[in-house]
Symmetry: C2
Subunit: 354 residues, 2 copies
């Protein structure tokens, strides 16, 4: 329930995240003011419906700082100085910008934030009002943050469709080190083995290596900043990984199957620890495969028939080789509904595979 | 073109892979004979249409051994001894089973093979005739393999819809160490950090960590065998990773942004080295996001409209929170076609997001 947050909301930095915040706030009727070093970005964001350019005399209720990691602390300081508003941000790392912002005599007006939403794309044209829907939004007050400001930021998260998760800046940085930054680095170490590899090696690439290395294709300039700024939290995790890698090497060289098995079991346990997409416990799913002839309209027919079966489709993958007349569509459904969907599709003439 | 392979094909081991080979061979009209330690598995596979139980007096032209990694060498030996057929297999590791099979006086009748096809699921019920369509199928003759047998195995791969890729057993093991086994192990190291992690850490999990750790949920008993059997090829790669991890730790602790940036850049280069799904060069894709109201038939309507736009959909993801009335569908299309699709969908009333 939004009670305190009435706007205007000022967005400083109209890149992908900032513009998305603007669009999401406009979606619920909040007035949005836009600021950016680049007037062109402001015009673009404004043109997309994310708000209007900020003018002298404007009095925002809340300022959302959405600039790149390296400039965040200084931009927060600046916002605290030039407005009487509550100031929050959307940066990936929280303790380092706070350290810089702590020079402010009015630090109590700052409450850190970090929406956990996809950001491989960049720039205002990549923004979306729906970016934060159902996603966790970390809210990280420090010791002196004003409680009213904390409420305001939690309402911002909710207004944008996100789910506020409160924690300290330190807890946040350790959390994202574990669930975002370290995975990114290990994906990079995996991918680095592929650059310059013999072609016949790469010819055998399957879905697994694609999944593991996907994130390693993200903007290296941004990740360089993120990793450097979260060095403290990453230190311990990297040391843990190094230790376990050493044990793995020993197990492989020494043929110690028990040690190998124990590590693999910890990996399985780890995958089960990840919550469902929107924080709910993970519902076991099962994949159903359907051959779909490569004619126009066949995919639509499949979805119409799947819809008629009353089984919810959680996710879809299309394995489609342009050289073949038939593609394989993978429908991911709740485990207990798979047989019903299969029967329903088969009765409508679809060729299915378990 | 299938010229030499006329059948019958005997499948030894009617698990997921073996039964899929049976189904694929039946699909092109080859006679298939089924053998397994478990009569029940044979009955199930036979019932699915993968072939008929082998009988005394049968004379297979080709035997496909599809038993778990640890039993492979012995099963190949047995097949060479008990039939005059060409013998191949579908195992993940090639040099170790070859080493065991080398005790045979008729080793020239053996030609190793390994189809690169998904296998997180197990058992005959998980089999599919389409499993190998468009996938690479490594064919790994050793020094004394009979050329006619090599042709036969390449024709098997083609008959099953796969693309034969010829290499030595050693090259194969090094290739899969790099593109399959090492990625699996690094995914496991990532996932192991999540088991037992504080709940508020896990609450911030995003799509990235899910992608990186997905494969770590696979059958640990099977992977224990695979890693142990491919220890030699993994040794060098693990040492490379250990060295790069050391350098990464130094860069993080020392704040060496240049070294960090160089590693991240190698990661990006690595992701670009992976060929397109079916061996073609990777076509750059772009994701288009569409809000889809949670009413029956809306997804079908979206696909019908997308089809009418004449833009090929490469992949689809559905971000769907049961608590919200609108879901976000991600359509992955060739980069150059994204704007056309967006315009086409927008003109039909869809709410899109870039």
């Amino acid at each position: 329930m939004v009670e305190l947050l009435t706007g205007p909301v000022e967005v400083v930095g109209t890149g992908m995240l900032g513009t998305s915040v603007g669009l999401a706030c406009r979606r619920v009727g909040l007035e949005v003011l836009l600021t950016d070093l680049s007037e062109e970005h402001v015009r673009t964001a404004s043109g997309l419906g994310a708000g209007r350019p900020r003018r002298p005399g404007d009095r925002p209720q809340l300022v959302v700082v959405a600039v790149p990691p390296d400039h965040l602390g200084a931009a927060i300081l600046d916002a605290l100085e030039t407005s009487g508003a509550t100031v929050t941000d959307v940066g990936s790392v929280k303790t380092e910008p706070l350290r810089v912002a702590a020079a402010s005599p009015v630090l109590e007006r700052y409450v850190g934030g970090h929406p956990m939403a996809g950001s491989e794309r960049s720039g205002p044209l990549a923004a979306s009002a729906a970016l934060f829907d159902g996603r966790p939004w970390a809210v990280t007050p420090h010791d002196t943050s004003d409680p009213g400001g904390v409420r305001l930021v939690e309402e911002l998260a909710a207004a944008c469709g996100g789910v506020a998760v409160r924690m300290t800046p330190e807890e946040h940085d350790h959390a994202v080190a574990r669930t975002s930054h370290l995975p990114h680095l290990l994906a990079v170490l995996t991918a680095a083995r592929l650059a310059g590899a013999p072609e016949e090696h790469l010819a055998l690439s399957g879905q697994g290596v694609r999944d593991v290395t996907r994130v390693a294709g993200s903007d290296p300039a941004m990740w360089q900043q993120i990793v450097a700024l979260n060095a403290d939290a990453l230190r311990g995790l990297l040391a843990e990984v190094r230790e376990e890698l050493d044990a793995l090497q020993d197990a492989v060289i020494g043929g110690d199957r028990n040690a190998l098995g124990a590590l693999l079991a910890r990996g399985v346990a780890g995958t089960r620890a990840i919550p469902g997409k929107h924080g709910a416990p993970l519902t076991p799913t099962r994949s159903v495969f359907v051959s779909v002839p490569d004619h126009p309209g066949e995919l639509a027919r499949l979805f119409a028939d799947a819809g008629a079966s009353d089984v919810n489709i959680e996710d879809v993958h299309i394995d489609h080789d342009p050289g073949r007349p038939v593609g394989l569509v993978e429908l991911v459904v709740e485990e207990g509904r798979a047989e019903h969907l299969l029967g329903s599709l088969e009765s409508r003439g679809w060729v299915t595979h378990r």
